[in-house]
Every structure is written in C-alpha cells, then in structure tokens.
Subunit: 152 residues, 3 copies
C-alpha cells in the first residue's frame, strides 16, 4: 500500500458549472479538462470532486479516451436499449413529452448521472487514459455539468 | 462558467437513515423528498450528500420523475437480465438463498447501490425533473437508505 | 428516521492505493477488507470513502458477496457485451491497441469505475452482505485501486 498522510485542515467547498453543446442526437464529449479547471480554481489540494449532469437524458461517465472506444459506447447503448420500442413515454396518450426520447432516459439512467473522483496534490486522481465523458443521448442540446469540489 | 466562491469552514458530518417499503416484487419509489429532508436536518449549506441502499437486491439511481419513464426502467432491466435463466444462486445445490433472486442481485449491481449529489445553498444540486429512486428488485420488502451529508 | 448528530470538526483527508492482481482474463476480487483498512488507517470516524480504479478495463462495484452471485455478474456482462463483435478498437487499422479488449472497455464503463461509501463510527456504512468488488475484464493484470477518505 502507498498512502499520503492525513491532513487536519479547514474545509473548502467550491461549485462550478459549465455548458456542453452537442451537435448530433448521440454524441460523446470529453469534459475532463473543464473538470480539471474547476478543481484548479477551487484551490483544493486534497479532497473529492463530483461531476454531475443536471439532466435526465445524458450521462457523465469515466471511460477510455480513444475515439473508437467512445464510438463503441454509443453503439452498445443502442444495442442494449432499443429506440424503436413502444415506450409509453413516446406516446402522447400517456406522456406530455413530445421529444420521443424514452431511449435517452433509459441510457442516461443505466450509465449514471455523474462520477466522484479523488483530488490528490491538486490534480484529479485519474490516469491519463481515463476520460470524463458527457454522453449525450438526446441532442443536439446545450447541457449543464455541475462540479462540486470539497477538500483542503 | 458559473462558480460560487470557495468557503473555508469547519466540517459538518451528518448521517440519517430512513425506511422504504415496497408492495410488489419490482417497484420504483421516489425518495428525493426524504434525501432533501436529511440535508435540511444536517444544516449543511454547501457540500455533498450520499444516498446509498444497504442491500444487494435494490438500487438507488437518479432518473426522470415521470411515471412512464419509471415503468420503462423496470421493463428495461427485465429485458437485459432474464429472471428465468438457470442461475446457480437460485439452485439450492449451489446456494443457501431460498428467494430465487439472482436477477435482483444483477439488476442491483448494474444500476448501482447509490448516488452522490452536490449540496448548494442548502439544497440538492439537482434539477426539478431529476428524481432519486429506490428501485426494488426483490420486494415486497422494507429497505434502509443511508444518507451521509458532509460539508459546511 | 434514525440520525446521528452533526459534528463540527477539522477536515481529515487521506489517500491510500493498493494493488489487486488477477489470474485470469475475467475475474472478480473482493477488496472490501483493503478499503476498510484504508479507512482505519485514515483515522476518520465520520465521512466518506471513495474506492476508484485507475484503469479503463476494470470496474469497482458493490454487490452480494456469495460466490455464485459473483459468477453471475461475469456471465451477465458477457451476454450484454459481445466480445466477438467487430469493434474498431480491436482492429489495428483503427486503433493502436493490440490487446483486442474493446469488450473490456465497455464492461468497465457500464459497471462504473468506482463507488462512494459513507463512514459511520469509523466503519464503512455497508451491511455484511455488501462486498466491494474489483471486476477484472482484461486480465491477468495488476491493478491499482485508489481509496480517498474524507471526514473527521
């Protein structure tokens, strides 16, 4: 085991939101640099960062940064969650949503609305290959990602 | 980017548990108001809240609050995870569990045991459409949800 | 509701990493005791612990500790994510990765890179049946799990 020594300090809490714009219905956008910027701005050396999306038809997830891996996630979600099924949410007799985006809600729930990451020595505790992605399932749209930073 | 200023303060830690009772085998219950109440009681203005279930056959997940979206999650999990497959966990030669709930364990793991949410200005950092759901996969049962609040 | 009283205290932040070695391509290893040891070492009585893997082809997830439940997760991920599909990531015309592990990346993203758990009275806020698992999708390999502990 490798460990850093515990630190007794006052708590610092910082919140930052940023916008991600998608250009197609399904798109995956790397937001790691924006999350890193929020951690730097917070001035927290050791702690945690939450990156959550404030929507129910997109996800925030950690995955490999290679382009073809990202494409594969989009294809996987398409194969697991059928967009053409007879969802009540897409039927105006049951739902007041006119977007026909039931598949997007399901993909968002299955991948999750956000991630929690350690902060060590002022940086995100992630390896270089670990991207933080906003996965858009119902674009093109403008999305808000909320970063909450806690620590010392 | 929009940001709130960091605050240097003493740490406040608060834990609260509540019970959710399901009436059918598979049921989704909105627990956002109970999590909000735990945050209010904690008196934390800025920080994070964890809502985790203390079980392995139910999930806590953030999703759209519309009734027909919730139904769709139950149906999705049924289509991805076959309840009638020959699971060893449901076979008394391999397992001492008599509930026949292997599918419930798998659904719980896939959707996740809990969520982590920011707290900003004393409220959960969620939009109105984002419900926090306890997804029951092996009811009817009584479940404990544990809310841990940290912040200042 | 049952609640513990909030505590005003100085923040303690502690980080600990440990290594998990897998012996086969797909393997699930219980790491709860290592996470518990990191919490004990941190000396945090109340707070949160993050257990995240620093890789994109394995997952950290909470699930039932019974052996046959663990086997079922491996089989589920195999049925949801086909390892023999024509992934670009496995095609050297598209990718510089020679491991042919596109399925591992997808399984890792779907189950998630880590978990966040409350700490109450110096112990993880988990029931006895809740294991913390490192799910290896591209072994045999040596993996790093990063535990970040915050609290008082």
């Amino acid at each position: 085991m490798r460990a850093t020594r515990g630190e007794l300090a006052s708590l610092l809490v910082h919140r930052r939101s940023f916008t991600v714009t998608s250009e197609t219905r399904r798109q995956v956008v790397d937001i790691r640099s924006q999350v890193e910027e929020a951690v730097l701005t917070a001035g927290v050396r050791n702690g945690v960062a939450l990156a959550n999306c404030l929507h129910t038809t997109c996800s925030v997830v950690i995955t490999d940064s290679a382009g073809e891996s990202i494409d594969a996630i989009v294809r996987l979600m398409r194969s697991v969650i059928d967009e053409n099924q007879a969802y009540r949410h897409n039927d105006l007799r049951w739902s007041d949503c006119e977007r026909g985006n039931a598949d997007a809600h399901l993909r968002a729930s299955l991948l999750g609305h956000g991630v929690t990451i350690g902060i060590a020595d002022g940086a995100l505790a992630l390896e270089a290959c670990q991207s933080i992605l906003l996965a858009e399932w119902d674009g093109p749209r403008s999305r808000t990602v909320d970063v909450q930073v806690l620590g010392a």
